[in-house]
């Protein structure tokens, strides 16, 4: 016993472990910081550590070569023992990391923790946010499948829009004229060496700032920050109710850490890894590229904004946003910390989350995207077929054949780019339909060159049957034969069309 104690003391004397402990893990924090709201930072770091470990494991097998990457992912999924599970943990680890990091940021913002004297803690956190998103994008490329390939294509097309040096930036990003061998190596280096290295460096700074500037005390309404008095107040708080972080304030972090680990492992087990989707073969154009969920909101925004706003959304808005985040501790570096006294801050958070949520939902459902296989795969609803005339049936076939279904739905199936046509006859007259089909308008291409008169005739005949039984189709009022009482018109058989 005595000998063991001696050895321990010797080690401590040489390695200075207890001194290190006292100045780091054992540093004093306000007792109020031992709160459930303060667990997200440590959990984000935990996720990062999990990512490093699982990432290193995956690198045992993964081959960052465009010729082999997809095959090695397949090997991980199907042949390597537990390869699929490691991929799943890495994927879910990244999902959890982005989610918890977001919570951490919201908490820091709402608790006023970015205010004096913790400006640099906040700014280093903003850098970590950007680097984490960089990890998410480069990680998506590591899963080198169709989505990754075309995701790089989208990235290159975005770069190309940078004024003046667009073409050069595309070359720099792709490391060549096309997406090929060196592109993947480039993103591998970023994902595995450069960005993680930067993250480790900045996390060190972030943690050091937590030690030197102290953790934010749980804010109380009515206790605004003044640069002149805050340092003294914080020292007093520490003196009065300071507790060592380990072991007195870390309890909740530990519990939450365990929950996060179990959550990641559980999700990995139940939902499994993501992809890889089809092989990164550009000649398979039969594909539907989608980004991972972190970037679905950007993907959606690009579909929705008008042309002239695209440069703004792609470059100006992100630059403004980052500038705002960095400037934030200087704009409102003092004053109230408590969210109860900062309604604008709360509104900003709610607004941003709503915008991101709605855009992500839209990105997920992407109603603007054509349904490429609806024309040949989504049947005409049977009740639009039964009891129709031969011409109308031909029209329904033309409707499918001309791929109207790609953008217009019938019976809930088909694209949502254009309006659903289930009740089109109650909205448009025959002449309006013909004009719309031939000339197009708004977002609809003109089909005049692609339809023979007979095809238009058949198509419109079919569309005129698309109305509920109880609502008659609309008719042109400028034709005398149409000036009948509605109920009289209704009992006329569908075949004896009035305005033929």
């Amino acid at each position: 016993m005595d000998r063991a104690r001696k050895i321990a003391l010797w080690l401590d004397d040489r390695l200075r472990i207890s001194a290190l402990f006292a100045s780091t893990a054992g540093h004093e924090v306000p007792a109020s910081a031992g709160s459930w709201f303060y667990v997200f930072g440590s959990a984000t770091l935990l996720c990062f550590v999990i990512q490093i470990i699982t990432g290193a494991c995956l690198a045992f097998v993964y081959i960052p070569s465009t010729n082999e990457a997809w095959t090695s992912l397949q090997y991980l999924n199907h042949a390597q023992f537990l390869g699929w599970y490691l991929r799943a943990v890495h994927n879910w680890g990244s999902n959890f990391m982005v989610a918890i990091m977001t919570l951490h940021m919201i908490q820091v913002f709402l608790f006023g923790a970015y205010k004096y004297p913790r400006e640099m803690t906040w700014i280093s956190g903003v850098c970590l946010l950007l680097l984490t998103l960089g990890m998410a994008f480069t990680g998506e490329v590591m899963r080198f499948d169709q989505d990754a390939y075309w995701g790089l294509g989208i990235g290159a097309s975005v770069m190309a829009r940078v004024p003046l040096v667009g073409a050069q930036l595309v070359h720099l990003m792709l490391a060549g004229p096309i997406i090929a061998g060196e592109t993947l190596s480039r993103f591998f280096t970023l994902h595995v060496f450069i960005i993680p290295g930067l993250i480790i460096a900045i996390v060190s700074l972030h943690l050091r700032l937590v030690l030197t500037k102290g953790i934010n005390e749980y804010p109380k309404p009515g206790h605004p920050v003044h640069k002149a008095t805050y340092d003294r107040e914080y020292a007093e708080i520490l003196k009065k109710e300071g507790v060592p972080f380990v072991p007195h304030a870390i309890g909740k972090d530990l519990i939450f850490a365990a929950i996060v680990i179990v959550g990641i492992l559980g999700c990995a087990l139940i939902f499994g890894p993501r992809g890889p989707a089809g092989p990164p073969d550009p000649t398979i154009v039969d594909t539907n590229p989608r980004p991972d969920f972190y970037f679905l909101s950007v993907f959606a925004a690009l579909a929705l904004v008008p042309d002239w706003m695209e440069v703004f959304v792609l470059f100006v808005a992100p630059a403004l946003l980052i500038a705002f985040l960095i400037a934030l501790p200087f704009i409102s570096g003092t004053g109230e910390k408590s969210a109860r006294r900062r309604p604008v801050a709360v509104l900003i958070v709610i607004f941003i989350m709503l915008v991101l949520g709605v855009l992500t939902y839209l990105g997920q459902t992407s109603p603007w995207s054509p349904h490429m296989s609806a024309w040949s795969g989504a049947p005409i609803p049977v009740n639009y077929v039964k009891g129709r005339t031969p011409l109308e049936l031909r029209g329904a076939a033309i409707f499918q054949n001309k791929q109207c279904r790609t953008c217009h739905s019938l019976g809930g199936e088909g694209g949502q780019r254009g309006p659903a046509l289930d009740e089109i006859a109650t909205i448009m007259t025959r002449d309006e339909m013909v004009r719309q089909i031939i000339q197009g308008s708004g977002n609809m291409p003109a089909y005049g060159k692609k339809l023979s008169p007979a095809e238009v005739e058949a198509l419109v005949a079919f569309m005129e049957t698309l109305h509920p039984l109880s609502v008659p189709p609309v008719r042109n009022s400028d034709r005398p034969e149409n000036r009948l009482p509605r109920d009289v018109a209704m009992v006329r058989p569908a075949t004896g069309r009035l305005n033929r």
């Binding site: 599970y85 499994g272 024309w375 040949s376 039964k386 129709r388 011409l391 076939a397 569908a494 075949t495």
Partner: protein, 281 residues
């Protein structure tokens, strides 16, 4: 709370936990089961049919706007080669596009074979025809007599397909411009069991329509096709067991079906009537 009850509750929890962990690790439902199948490798009939054919031919091969394929009589009627050829090349001038890759469609040869196999093996049933002889699938180059066809039409078809009748006109020029003669012939022979149109045996009171009568009706309908309408020509390479050309309307009206050697160049939707669709303004 009494001790026993508390222990009981705890026991239940631990049971649940063990069961949950065991269930999860046994199933590991996240484990990817099979490699993704790329579009060129899909040869499952159900998948192929529902992605490529169901849009027009209906979910189960019937109740679509066009010819039902889930129809034993039709499958007995049509030669396998013709079915295959039609899928590969489509029927120019009609709503049936070409599906073969070398014709600009999405399907590979093995996929078309899988479709034909699937259609035949899933939906062919033996049809009891009794003493009635099944007419031949195509007219065999036999030009019908339009005048006689008109008489039969008025007698046999008018009830459903005349002006103001329940089912609606088949003499509508727009309709006729969009269907091939073969399609008309097939419809007369096989009917549309899914939509209630009887087959050739029951169209004519008294006796089943003869081969000649069917050709005559088709000739009559073809004569009503507007001048210069899209002609629908439908060709099969000879040597398919049947005669060469499954053919149909020619330039305009009145003519009989083309000669068996009628080889028509590709004239799909690509080069279709340009800009002449009327706007009725």
């Amino acid at each position: 709370m009494p001790m026993a009850a508390a222990r009981g509750v705890r026991k239940e929890y631990s049971f649940a936990a063990i069961a949950l962990v065991g269930f999860l690790s046994l199933t590991a439902c996240g484990k990817p089961t099979e490699r993704p199948i790329m579009p060129p490798d899909v040869t499952d009939f159900k998948t192929l049919f529902s992605e490529n054919c169901a849009g027009c031919h209906g979910m189960d091969g019937k109740n679509g706007p066009v010819r039902p394929l889930n129809d034993p009589l039709y499958l007995t009627l049509i030669p396998r080669e013709t079915l295959e050829h039609t899928i590969e090349n489509g029927v120019p001038g009609t709503a049936m596009p070409a599906w073969a890759r070398d014709q600009g469609g999405p399907l590979y040869p093995k996929q078309i074979t899988a479709l034909v196999d699937g259609i035949e093996s899933n939906w062919t049933k033996s049809v009891t025809l009794g003493s009635t002889k099944l007419p031949s699938y195509d007219a065999g180059g036999d030009a019908g007599d339009a005048a006689h066809g008109k008489q039969i039409f008025v007698r046999s078809c008018f009830m459903c397909h005349g002006k103001g009748a329940k089912i609606g006109l088949v003499t509508d020029p727009s309709y006729l411009a969009l269907v091939s003669d073969q399609n008309l012939r097939t419809s007369i022979i096989a009917g549309r069991s899914d939509l209630g149109m009887p087959d050739w045996r029951f169209l004519n009171l008294g006796h089943a329509l003869t081969d000649q009568e069917i050709s005559d009706i088709v000739a009559y309908l073809a004569s009503l096709r507007p001048q210069g309408a899209q002609t629908a020509t439908h060709v099969v390479e000879s040597g398919s067991g049947q005669t060469g050309a499954r053919t149909t309307g020619n330039e305009g009206s009145g003519n009989g079906p083309g000669s068996p050697e009628n080889q028509t160049a590709n004239q799909g939707s690509g080069g279709k009537g340009v800009g002449n669709a009327r706007t009725k303004q």
